[in-house]
Symmetry: C2
Subunit: 113 residues, 2 copies
């Protein structure tokens, strides 16, 4: 039976903060929603078009979660007409450098199909 | 009915490369697997322990996908005993800077629960 050499080193673990990051962006659609908002504020319908394949209810749920995490903010402007827009909140703006690093990596290492 | 201001700017889109990155790390477990291997090679059982909650079959499937993407490599050493180890392949090593950026962001913006 194949054994591993794990008994000769400290047990491997994912860094706790990195694990928390993946709890957010490892959830389907969250990354692309944040990536879409990195190009500027957008309304719900626009986000749904940009994030191909997501349903209204899932998009609404994700936006609520991302807002609760401080990544996204929802702005209602009275108008008329009343306008509702989503944009990156403080933690979302702080996520931009990581998104740039992910994009740079993917350009070199995840070729288009 | 609330309208959005989307008619006054280019349609928002997620950067294509960033979207490809999220295709990989937006898939549950992939990020934590890569994060675990960033601390060094590990055997299957060790990975399963480190990535809490994943089943053998899903871990095996993910490792196969990550290997096909060039992120992870599987090394069999004849021994005896035969040892099987997984480690970051070239694209996985190239992913380390993005993981560091994600971890740094999460330390500041995703506090422990």
């Amino acid at each position: 039976m194949a054994t591993t050499t794990s008994d000769t080193h400290e047990p491997r673990m994912c860094d706790a903060a990195l694990s928390r990051a993946f709890d957010v962006i490892g959830k389907r659609w969250n990354g692309v929603i944040l990536g879409t908002l990195s190009s500027g504020p957008a309304g719900f319908a626009e986000l749904r078009r940009a994030v191909g394949g997501i349903s209204d209810s899932v998009l609404s749920e994700r936006l609520t979660e991302l807002a609760a995490t401080g990544l996204v903010q929802r702005t209602v402007t009275d108008g008329p007409p009343v306008t509702v827009e989503y944009s990156l909140a403080e933690s979302g703006v702080a996520f931009l450098p990581a998104m740039r690093a992910l994009s740079a990596w993917a350009k070199d290492h995840l070729p288009r199909n």
